[in-house]
């Protein structure tokens, strides 16, 4: 089966998955205890006000009616409205997704740039200082809580040394954001030639990206190391050595390519996490991403954003999974789709 027909078949299969997921997401959010109308009204309300607001918010309709409304909305591209922000969830996600994408992608690039060399060098020079250093990094990175790591970086580089900008969002308070093109401040400021915004937004990304990349890079390093060790012990590598192939060529030309498949799988999984699961980093650095949006909504029983967020992250996971599958074929022609 060709690459494109395989991709098309997988894309079609995503639809029933999404339908099933929409039902699960809806039911699960409905099971969360708490009354959104009550949260909205606060303490100073009357029973009559509460009744009226519940009606206005559609909370008095039967569950199956609400699901049908939700599903028909989804089919029209309407994920509902957030009572907390007053906006359509789709609009809110559209504003916040570029923040998470920018953070996630920059972190992933740095994590790959950090994790793969550490894993490869460690595996290629077993029992050396590089090997031990890589192992220590692997353990530290996996064990370190993101929240704590972020706070430590802020404390040292912003509070003590004063060389990082304040963790108050994507750009300095006194700098105007670049003209909106893609929603990514880095890209938009580059595309519009707004150097002030570029410098400020890049500076604001440095610490959160390092926080995330340190942790994600550790997982990649561990996986690369394990995979490389396995490949380096293979027969064809031994034969390569016997034929006098240079160690450099063996590591980078033959072993690395064969060791990359599990690493790519891991990177695929981490991309989903980096886009939707970095709430704590978004909180520490005051970044208005989709993770923070979902959690803040969840805490006040604003269900539509939570449903929209879960669905979006699911779509990202499915698409990244598909991409990883396709990459297998590119990395290793022996893998055939079908």
């Amino acid at each position: 089966m060709g690459l494109f027909s395989h991709a098309a078949r997988r894309l079609v299969l995503i639809m029933p998955t999404l339908l099933g997921a929409s039902f699960m997401i809806f039911v699960l959010t409905m099971l969360i205890p708490g009354d959104p109308a009550l949260m909205r009204l606060g303490n100073f309300a009357t029973a009559e006000q509460l009744r009226q607001l519940r009606e206005e918010m559609g909370l008095t309709k039967p569950l199956h009616t609400r699901y049908v409304l939700y599903l028909s909305g989804l089919l029209r591209g309407d994920m509902g409205r957030s009572w907390r922000t007053g906006n359509l969830v789709l609009d809110d996600l559209r504003v916040r997704l570029p923040v998470s994408l920018e953070l996630g992608m920059c972190s992933m690039l740095l994590a790959i740039a950090l994790g793969i060399p550490v894993g490869v060098w460690g595996a290629a020079s077993k029992d050396s200082l590089i090997d031990y250093g890589g192992k220590v990094y692997g353990i530290l990175g996996v064990a370190m809580p993101l929240f704590w790591g972020g706070l430590v970086l802020v404390y040292v580089f912003y509070f003590k040394l004063g060389i990082a900008p304040p963790p108050t969002g994507r750009i300095d308070m006194l700098v105007s954001p670049p003209k909106h093109l893609t929603g990514s401040y880095l890209l938009d400021s580059l595309l519009t030639g707004d150097m002030e915004a570029l410098v400020s937004s890049a500076a604001h990304l440095v610490l959160p990206v390092i926080t995330l990349a340190f942790v994600t890079g550790a997982s990649i390093a561990r996986m690369t190391y394990t995979s490389m060790r396995r490949v380096l012990a293979s027969q064809f590598i031994v034969v390569g050595h016997a034929y006098g192939v240079s160690p450099r060529a063996i590591v980078y030309k033959f072993a690395l390519k064969n060791a990359l498949m599990p690493v790519v799988t891991l990177i695929g999984l981490q991309v989903g996490f980096l886009i939707g699961g970095v709430v704590l980093v978004e909180v520490v650095f005051s970044l208005p991403g989709i993770g923070r949006y979902a959690v803040e909504s969840l805490l006040v029983n604003d269900f539509a954003p939570v449903q929209g967020f879960v669905l979006l992250v699911l779509v990202v996971y499915l698409l990244v999974n598909l991409l990883v599958d396709l990459l297998y074929g590119v990395l290793n022609p022996q893998v055939r789709h079908g």
């Binding site: 303490n43 029973a47 504003v95 404390y155 004063g162 308070m173 520490v284 208005p288 923070r292």
Partner: protein, 535 residues
């Protein structure tokens, strides 16, 4: 001609951006420092504004914004404390939109004379007709009922006498009638005519439009709003009271530790909701000012009246004797609170602390418990708002104390939404919770908490004698000897019943840079940023 991207060029350009970013770390604080010399107030708030609708009390941040963009007829007066800090004066009124007011002797007629020059941000006049339309909007929109409970059930009770004179005819005298109808959120003046242009069949009051757009009537107007990040406000060109500040930036900083350090570094001038545990340290930081105000935010242990043994007076007394009052003050609030000794909070008019004899005494508690015939190994599940340190720590200390009596508390952590829902549905047997009245008056607190149909009578308290007195106190004139006697007797009865166990009343700790001037503490703790300036 496009330049070829070589490896060398790519590396140099990348290093350039990284270098620029690093330099920015040094440069931006300098710019921020320079900005401080202008009248630009930077405020760290805990979350974004959920809505521009002023009638929904959805959070403190909304209220901060409400006070900036919507005017009200009046505000509390201000007085100076011995240390020079400013606090509201419950005995005086500051004129805002109103130039003068009169209250009739029977307290059922309130007359305002409005400023003749008041205008909305779009230049339309804020006259008596606009005020009436605004009030009518609040009375009509679903989910809004504050005016009704304050004696103003419908817009036909608002009489427009002329362009500047308007009369509110209340259906009954209400002790806090003036404040309730001219200062609280429902008295925020919106441009109702403009809002109603966006009404639809599904949304007959244009509320959805008002969620994200508005025409300001207050001293400031919204300049930019980056959702989830910040809002910038500049003075309303049509404001009738000139502002000293040239710009206010409300920056969302959700993490309290981050709010603290950006304040310490001087990257913001004012920060809300700083953790109590940080207050002692912040007092020692040069350039930072901490002002503590005794508040009316009371913390209580509530117990249901709907089932045994909680409705047994001996059990309730045992709980009152068993509370670790001093430990709560020192450990939970780090000394930043005071003992409460009544069923209404401290620091409000009508509070009487003479009817609460209970101190921590486990021997007395055991005696009372024996008379309550509580089964051995009695266990109770207590909901706790996860994330609120006062709630969590106070409940843990109470758990330890009650364990010595053989009562087992199981803590069930949950989000605030879930706990509040359980409380409102009266499904909780016992819990620690807090409540702050926006009007510092015992009758106001009784109205919301102690009457049979009070919205937050979570524990189903029912004592006709006390509740009749409570009803009477609502309509009596504030400050009259009769009302004082009524409130005193009410507290005597309810405290005798152990209606609630008062744990403590916390201080409100306001943290800002030393050069911030003009902060006034109000009973709802909402800062009026427009009054502030930078020295």
């Amino acid at each position: 001609m496009a330049q070829e991207v070589t490896r060398r060029r790519f590396v140099f350009q990348t290093l350039g951006v990284i270098g620029g970013a690093t330099v920015a770390g040094d440069l931006l604080p300098l710019l921020a420092e320079a900005a401080k010399h202008k009248q630009m107030l930077r405020v760290a708030i805990e979350r974004d504004f959920e809505t521009l609708r002023p009638e929904l009390s959805a959070g403190d941040t909304v209220n901060i914004l409400r006070r900036l963009i919507y005017t009200t007829p009046i505000l509390w007066g201000t007085k100076q404390r011995p240390d020079g800090s400013l606090i509201y004066d419950a005995d005086s009124i500051e004129m805002v939109l109103a130039a003068a007011y009169k209250v009739s002797e029977d307290r059922q007629l309130i007359e305002f004379t409005l400023r003749p020059n008041a205008k909305f941000a779009n230049g339309d006049p804020i006259n008596t007709q606009a005020l009436k339309e605004s009030y009518a909007w609040f009375l009509g929109v679903k989910g809004s009922g504050q005016l009704r409970v304050n004696g103003l059930p419908s817009a036909d009770r608002i009489e427009v006498v002329d362009d500047v004179t308007v009369r509110l005819h209340l259906d009954r005298p209400v002790a806090w009638g003036l404040i309730g109808n001219a200062l609280l959120s429902s008295s925020s003046i919106i441009h109702a005519r403009e809002v109603m242009k966006h009404a639809t069949a599904d949304d007959p009051y244009g509320a959805k439009w008002l969620e994200t757009k508005t025409v300001e009537s207050g001293p400031f107007v919204i300049e930019t709003w980056q959702k989830g990040t910040m809002m910038s406000l500049v003075p309303n060109p049509h404001a009738f009271q000139p502002a000293t500040l040239e710009r206010i930036i409300l920056q969302v900083v959700p993490d309290p530790s981050t709010r603290r350090i950006v304040l310490e570094r001087g990257d913001v001038d004012f920060a809300v909701q700083i953790a109590t545990k940080d207050i002692a340290d912040l007092r020692k930081v040069s350039g930072v000012k901490v002002i503590s105000y005794p508040s009316a935010r009371g913390w209580w242990l509530g117990m249901t009246w709907n089932k045994a043994p909680f409705n047994n007076i001996h059990f309730r007394r045992a709980m009152a004797w068993a509370m670790p009052y001093e430990t709560l003050l020192q450990v939970v609030t780090q000394g930043l609170a005071e003992r409460s000794r009544s069923c209404v909070p401290n620091n409000i008019s009508g509070y009487v602390g003479d009817y609460w004899p209970y101190e921590t005494d486990l021997a007395q508690a055991r005696e009372e418990l024996a008379q309550a015939h509580v089964p051995e190994g009695f266990a109770v599940t207590v909901p706790v708002y996860a994330g609120d340190l006062f709630d969590e720590e106070a409940t843990v200390l109470i758990k330890e104390s009650l364990a010595q009596l053989g009562i087992k508390l199981t803590l069930q952590k949950m989000p605030i939404s879930q706990k509040r829902t359980l409380l409102t549905q009266k499904q909780v047997d016992m819990a620690v919770y807090d409540w702050r009245p926006w009007v510092p008056d015992a009758g106001y607190f009784i109205y919301w908490n102690w009457l049979p149909d009070s919205f937050t009578n979570y524990w189903s308290y029912n004592n006709p004698e006390a509740q009749t007195l409570g009803h009477e106190a609502i309509t009596m004139a504030v400050g009259s000897p009769e009302r004082h006697a009524t409130l005193r007797r009410f507290q005597e009865i309810v405290n005798g019943d152990i209606g609630l166990v008062p744990l403590f009343t916390q201080f409100d700790n306001i943290v800002m840079r030393e050069n911030v001037q003009g902060y006034v503490y109000y009973p709802d703790t909402v800062p009026v940023l427009a009054k502030m300036s930078l020295g």
